[in-house]
């Protein structure tokens, strides 16, 4: 399955292997994993809660993967994103791309993350010592995605 939205932890080894299993033409696999950090905007973070828009989330992730396939010759691409309560140090997202050569794998991986961060309907709420707060969108993420259309 190229797209999965789940509350459970995922197995990095298994996800990485599934990108090139029975695909002898694959010469490169690039992966990215995002984790829950203990510090955001100077405040200690103990836990995150990830809300999403069921239905639209899966569709938007599939569309982002489709765009990457149109742009680069990729054998496989997959995105796994977790939702619900996540503790510091736990993985949030896995993005993996398999291609013949490394450059398109690196680029497509970057592309998938840039679009995911700005187009997929997920929202983070973080627990800090002073209470809970919603994480605000970042200008730098908007700028990062713009480079693909420049």
């Amino acid at each position: 399955m190229p797209v999965q939205v789940q509350t459970e932890l995922f197995d990095l080894g298994e996800l990485t292997r599934s990108l090139h299993a029975e695909e002898p033409g694959v010469g490169a696999v690039a992966t990215f994993v995002g984790y829950v950090r203990d510090l955001n905007q100077g405040d200690q973070v103990s836990e995150l809660f990830l809300e999403h828009y069921p239905g639209m989330t899966e569709r938007s992730l599939q569309q982002i993967i489709d765009r990457a396939h149109q742009r680069w010759p990729l054998q496989r691409a997959s995105i796994v994103h977790r939702v619900g309560a996540l503790k510091v140090g736990e993985p949030i997202v896995f993005v993996g791309v398999a291609s013949e050569h490394r450059q398109e794998a690196f680029d497509a991986c970057n592309f998938l993350m840039d679009y995911l961060k700005t187009h997929a309907p997920f929202w983070k709420r973080e627990h800090t010592p002073s209470g809970e707060r919603w994480v605000e969108g970042r200008e730098s993420d908007q700028l990062a995605v713009n480079r693909w259309t420049a």
Partner: protein
């Protein structure tokens, strides 16, 4: 009727996750709907009046000029922060 959903901070600030709204002739686009909702009061104006507001029509991101039709599913939400 159209279905309007609110997510994350918007849902909390507005105190509602979703609602059905009867479509009349004055609501032709997402922007019309937004204006209609903002007229409900100060909180609505503050939340849905944000310039960084994002919207979706039938589970696809869209711009405020997107036309709406009966039975559409519309959503308003703050900038997304996944990944």
């Amino acid at each position: 009727m159209i279905l309007v959903n609110y997510f994350a901070r918007y849902r909390e600030q507005l105190g509602i996750g979703g609602e059905k709204i009867a479509l009349d002739g004055s609501l032709r686009t997402i922007a019309d709907l937004r204006q209609h909702l903002c007229a409900r009061g100060e909180t609505w104006q503050q939340v849905l009046g944000e310039t960084s507001l994002m919207c979706a029509l039938n589970q696809e991101l869209c711009t405020p000029d997107a036309p709406i039709e009966d039975f559409d599913e519309i959503a308003f939400f703050p900038q997304v922060t996944g990944g």
